[in-house]
Amino acid sequence: MTDDPPIGADFDEHGEVAERNLRILEAILFASADPLSPAEIAPHLGEGADIPVLLEQLARRYAGRGVNLVRRGDRWAFRTADDLSFLLRREEKESRQLSRSALETLAIIAYHQPATRAEVEEVRGVASGGGTFDILMQTGWVRMRGRRRTPGRPVTYGTTEAFLDHFGLESLADLPGLEELRGSGLLSSRLPPAFQVPLPFDGPLRDDEDPLDPDDRGESDPVE
């Protein structure tokens, strides 16, 4: 293959028009969300353009390339070349969105850490399903820090290095405070005077935190 596909033959007196039509055809097929029929393409090209010929010509140009112009019924579309299909993603690798409640729980853990599950629920005003914490642990962004030295010895949660890394934070101190959340419009300016945003803490264990035993899996959690 060469840098210039064999278009030399196209440059007869109509070559320039044909070349222009090929560029338009290429752009339209590239940008379209669906395969296109010649009838759908026609309005975009100049009068009298021979669309089937142009399509064949474009398909020839892309033959042997990483992407091919293929025909599906009477419609046309660009597709990754068959022999490169190993590049196509396998099912299980799909990226996933965190649910709203998971995102909110994560944010509260980040700001209020070290925080127990009960404390997170108190801030949220609703009970978190056990599944939420499981998912957050799966993301690798949340960890169990220790156990609070209070009745019931609840597990305290905090964020991880991977959390900082994913969200592009140098440190937890980079999380915006009350004034900035307000200034950027995320918090409304009509807040009670007592409203505060805590300073997150991810240092070593606090006085009221005990370390986890190596085999402690956080058994107070109803969901394993």
Binding site: A27, F30, A31, S32, A33, D34, A77, F78, R79, T80, L87, L88, R89, R90, K93, E94, S95, R96, Q97, L98, R100, L103, E104, L106, A107, I108, A110, Y111, V123, R124, G125, T139, G140, W141, A162, D165, H166, F167, G168, L169, L175, P176, E179, L181, L186, L187, S188, R190, L191, P192, F195, V197
Partner: protein, 264 residues
């Protein structure tokens, strides 16, 4: 284009009443926007405008608004105070010992700010008229699921996170909470207003004396003075500005601290 010879000291044309009445403060995004519009009406290059005429027109406009007893935002009043001071500096000859800013310097500063704002508006228009993705230029319409290593399977942006936090916290605020109508300048507000006013002024400005003129409501005057003063002390403590008072009960001068901040 006849008045290109005007300089800062030129006698301003008296602002025409009809011109002023067309100006609706609601249509402006702040005092600088209003000034820029007034300057544009002089129909000369921003470098050649008569700053004195501009100050007169602005002050005349604020006067009209106040006569109609229309509420006007603090930003406009603070700008009026600054322009009143500018006007006095332009009209009164400079004493040699005087280390207050010269009228020319203040006028140049104002021109700079107007030019900068206009330049940013032009830039915004150029930006918005570029070939834009999804409008003029397009990405692949049928992206194929090619395996691309992402750093994480889970997708969430910092913005999503902060948004979730803020909305979660706001939901927890009792609904029956009523904010009392605030007629005071909070310390935070006063601080921000001062910062916008003297932001890039490197020279002493006697703010309080002029601010006083434009706050007619005694209640508002008190709160503005108290908050501005307290805020100026706070800004001074933080090393952002310097304060000076030459005689007891004399005007309080303030300026940005020399060499602060960015190079530090």
């Amino acid at each position: 284009m006849s008045d290109t010879s005007q300089d800062w000291f030129a006698t301003p044309d008296a602002p025409r009443d009809d011109e002023i009445l067309y100006v609706d403060v609601d249509g402006y995004e702040g005092p600088l926007d209003l000034l820029l519009d007034l300057a544009r009406r002089q129909k000369v290059d921003l470098g050649k405008i008569s700053v004195l005429a501009l100050a007169e027109q602005y002050l005349g406009f604020i006067e009209t608004i106040r006569e109609k007893r229309i509420e006007i935002a603090a930003d406009y009043l603070v700008m009026a105070a600054w322009l009143a001071y500018l006007k006095s500096r332009l009209m009164v000859p400079q004493a040699p010992s005087d280390d207050e800013p010269t009228g020319e310097m203040m006028a140049a500063l104002l021109q700079f700010r107007l030019k900068r704002l206009e330049a940013m508006r032009k830039a915004a228009m150029q930006l918005v008229n570029r070939p834009r993705l999804g409008r003029d230029v397009f990405a692949r319409g049928q992206p194929e699921p090619v395996l691309v290593e992402r750093r994480n399977l889970w997708e969430a942006s910092l913005y999503d996170l902060l948004k979730a936090y803020a909305s979660g916290r706001e939901r927890g605020i009792p609904q029956d909470y009523h904010l009392f109508e605030r007629t005071v300048w909070s310390l935070q507000e006063a601080r921000e207003i001062l910062a916008r006013l003297i932001g890039d002024s490197m020279d002493w400005v006697p703010l309080d004396a002029y601010l006083d003129q434009y706050l007619t409501n005694p209640e508002q005057r008190k709160t503005a003075m108290a908050s501005s003063f307290a805020s100026s002390l706070e800004l001074a403590r933080q090393g952002q500005i310097e304060l000076r008072q030459t005689l007891t009960f004399g005007p309080l001068f303030m300026r940005r601290r020399q060499g602060d901040g960015k190079n530090n």
